[in-house]
């Protein structure tokens, strides 16, 4: 059973967070271990398997990028796993340039501005994914997801760099 079916929600990119939450919490209650106290071992084992699968499904579908990657996987679009490399020049050039810009950013304002820009690009790319899925354009879906992975990494790095800078400024002022 795929994650969407398990939670009883439509297999869609633009899943309403409230719909997902509601489905998850209802099912989580149904399979909660507390309700299986004193039940036969088989039933308890079943409940704990179901609960774990539900958590896994929820974790994946809650995050828009993880959800998109998962949905693409169901359609047969595989992304390179650990240790696999890519050489798409356009994609990597963009990633390289944005990371260089972040590396050169020395103020919190500059980092925030780059992070905002990356957030907007992510938003746009996620929105654009919808039509790629409709057209079932697998190479384009793959490329868009790889780009989103790099944007996601950028956001993570920007956050780390910002935190470091805040700490440094704090030390300098304190």
């Amino acid at each position: 059973m795929d994650h969407f079916a398990r939670l009883g929600v439509p297999a869609a990119l633009d899943l309403e967070p409230a719909v997902l939450d509601k489905a998850y919490f209802a099912l989580q209650r149904r399979w909660h271990p507390d309700r299986f106290v004193g039940k036969p071992a088989e039933e308890r084992a079943r409940a704990s398997t179901e609960a774990a699968a539900l958590n896994d499904a929820y974790r994946t579908l809650k995050d828009p990028l993880a959800r998109a990657v998962y949905l693409a996987g169901l359609k047969g679009v595989e992304l390179p796993g650990d240790g696999k490399t890519i050489d798409d020049p356009e994609l990597l050039m963009e990633a390289m340039e944005s990371r260089e810009a972040l590396h050169d950013a020395t103020t919190i304002e500059a980092i925030d501005s780059l992070a905002d820009q990356a957030r907007q690009q992510s938003q746009q790319a996620l929105t654009a994914l919808g039509s790629l899925f409709l057209r079932d354009d697998k190479p384009a879906i793959r490329k868009a997801l790889l780009r989103l992975r790099y944007l996601d990494k950028f956001a993570e790095e920007a956050q780390g760099r910002r935190a470091n800078l805040v700490k440094k400024v704090g030390i300098a002022n304190g």
Binding site: L79, P80, G81, D82, G83, K84, T85, I86, D87, D88, P89, L91, L92, M93, A95, M96, R99, E100, H103, L146, R149, Y150, D152, K153, F154, E156, E157
Partner: protein, 145 residues
């Protein structure tokens, strides 16, 4: 987890960080990435008239092991022919730096980067020799301007 001294040395004092002119005829550029961890690596070689790699530069955004792997490769390829440089294996890199198993993929990235740089250099060289007449015409035009 303890990292080797060599790895820490390359990470703390990376060799050959920087860029070469990617449009230059004697420069080959390899740009590769590992999307699973968000790493991106650029490795460039400059090949002399004698066929030896006279300079190498890299720029890597990734973990310490990825930085150390690319730093090591730029050091290794200098003074080698491109055919020799092409034989560098990720296992050699991983062994030299004593990379922990979870970081082996960083050495794969560095091997792919040097291979891509060599391929780019070869493609440029092939193009240069394929159409000498056209190049000659362009050069003359450039002189005329």
């Amino acid at each position: 987890m303890a990292y080797s001294e060599k790895l820490i040395d390359h990470y703390e004092n990376p060799r050959n960080i920087g860029s070469l002119d990617k449009n230059a005829e004697d420069v080959g550029t390899g740009l590769v990435g590992a999307p699973a961890c968000g790493d991106v690596m650029k490795l460039q070689i400059k090949v002399g008239a004698d066929g030896l790699i006279e300079d190498a530069k890299f720029k890597t955004f990734g973990c310490g092991s990825a930085i150390a792997s690319s730093s090591l490769v730029t050091e290794w390829v200098k003074g080698k022919t491109i055919d020799e440089a092409e034989t560098i294996k990720n296992t050699d890199i991983a062994k030299h730096l004593a990379l922990p198993p979870v970081k082996i993929h960083c050495s794969v990235l560095a091997e792919d980067a040097i291979k891509a740089a060599i391929a780019d250099y070869r493609a440029k060289a092939a193009q240069k020799f394929a159409k000498p007449d056209d190049n000659e015409v362009e050069r003359q035009e450039a002189v005329a301007e």
